[in-house]
């Protein structure tokens, strides 16, 4: 079970015209691991996710991904002409509808299942998009800043939901985020994309939930901010 499901990015380069966004990037994600991907805006995080999702085939190099991939896009991308529940169960069997409704309830949108997506608030749309990604028990789960539009409290509960689902089905998770705290709280590995390659790569030590005050994690946090070019004095 182990090796076949690993995600492999092998010497991937990607150009947009003269602009090289990914430059011979290699990365390996172990099956069932939870990795946070950080990097400055425009560093190529979404580009890498699109390649992994099979949406961009114009790149050099090689990637290996499991068959069932699920994506929460940076914008919610709910089909405006389908109800929220229909969006969540898009592409799934009819029998998945109860599960879809349940997942909607878990993201706090039980009463919105029949609503039109254009009537949702930004945060509600993002939660519906998250539900759509989580409901299908993928082997690889790609999350592109899925918590960006959420308030602190909702964000916490969505973190918990994501972790619960990860523990239940053990997908390989690649989570793009700008939030260092979020990365350290959720992931067991953090990588930073810079200059078209993985410029920083570290395991997150300690147990989730207990780890945020631990010296080793505080040290890693400082290192991460450094890698992201943020002044650490106040951070």
């Amino acid at each position: 079970m182990s090796d076949q499901r690993a995600v492999v990015v092998d010497g991937v380069s990607k150009d947009f015209g003269a602009h090289r966004v990914l430059d011979d990037l290699s990365l390996r994600l172990e099956p069932g691991s939870f990795t946070a991907l950080l990097g400055a805006s425009g560093s190529g995080k979404s580009t890498l996710l699109r390649i992994l999702a099979g949406l961009d085939e114009e790149f050099e190099g090689r990637v290996v991904v499991p068959p069932r991939v699920s994506v929460a896009f940076q914008e919610p991308r709910l089909l405006p002409w389908a109800s929220v529940l229909d969006n969540v169960v898009l592409g799934l069997d009819k029998r998945a509808r109860p599960l879809g409704a349940q997942t909607l309830a878990e993201v706090g949108l039980a009463e919105k299942s029949g609503a039109w997506p254009l009537t949702l608030s930004g945060g509600q749309a993002q939660r519906a998009s998250l539900a759509r990604a989580l409901v299908r028990e993928p082997e690889l789960l790609l999350l592109d800043e899925p918590f960006g539009a959420l308030d602190a409290l909702t964000r916490r509960s969505m973190h918990q939901l994501t972790l619960d689902l990860w523990r239940a089905h053990a997908p390989t998770v690649l989570l793009v985020t700008h939030d260092v705290e979020e990365a350290l709280r959720l992931a067991d590995r953090v990588v930073v994309l810079q200059g078209g390659v993985i410029g920083f790569d570290a395991e997150v030590p300690e147990d989730r939930g207990l780890r945020m005050e631990k010296p080793a994690v505080l040290h890693l946090r400082r290192e991460l901010y450094g890698a992201l070019g943020v002044d650490v004095v106040t951070a």
Partner: protein, 280 residues
Amino acid sequence: MSVVSVGAAATSATENGVVRHGRGSNRRRRGPRLRYLSLVALLVLWFVADKADWISADTFPGPGAVWHAAVDLAQSGKLADALQVSLTRVVIGGLIGVVLGVVLGLLSGFSHLAESVLDTPLQALRAVPFTALVPIFILWLGIGEAPKIAIVAFAVFFPVYINTYAGIRSVDVKYAEVAQVYGLSRVAVARRVLLPGALPGILVGIRYALALSWISVIVAEQLNASSGIGFLLVNARQFLQVDVMFVCLVLYALLGVVTDLVYRLVERRLLVWRRGFDGA
């Protein structure tokens, strides 16, 4: 400090900034009422023009004379006959044109192969005015119902085809990507994403087509027919029945309005998910 008066202006500039007053929710729309009011005003103007002899009854009969002519036509059964004949032609020809337009538009929209085969000849054909085809269709199809139906179908086809095709091509790729990621088949992508995404465009085409269907049937009936509203008009002209001619004109206008009303109802049901700007 400046005092803001609550009054006619919803927005006013003060030294503190721009002040906006809410209009409350569930505001009654004055659009529909205004729409009918302007129609009534036009009728009143017509009535007054007739009474004041601004218009001559020989060339521009008043509402009363037109009404009497309409009643006569209705009582003799001619009006219902003409209506039924024209309506049948519009419905059959319109259906053929809409179905063909949607199907070929979808094909051109979906597949580059179909596009390269279909689109150029159709664009060339589009430049041919349907009026020019009336004699050809009579030559080919005789003088029965077929040429009239063919004219309507031809006129209706192009706006539907072009808007369907453009509608498919304007569907945002980001939605198609969602479908692709979640493993929808090509057929499912077409049905769940491209078709609903193109629907607003398709409906625009159909709306044009509905107006064109009436115009084209009238033209076809004026050039060659022994029944229908267009025939009624030609006939009235021959016998200098100006009032009957006006009955036909008013009838066209009414048919256009009714058709558009029906269209709006259908559109509202089909596009409930949209939250677009629908007028100020």
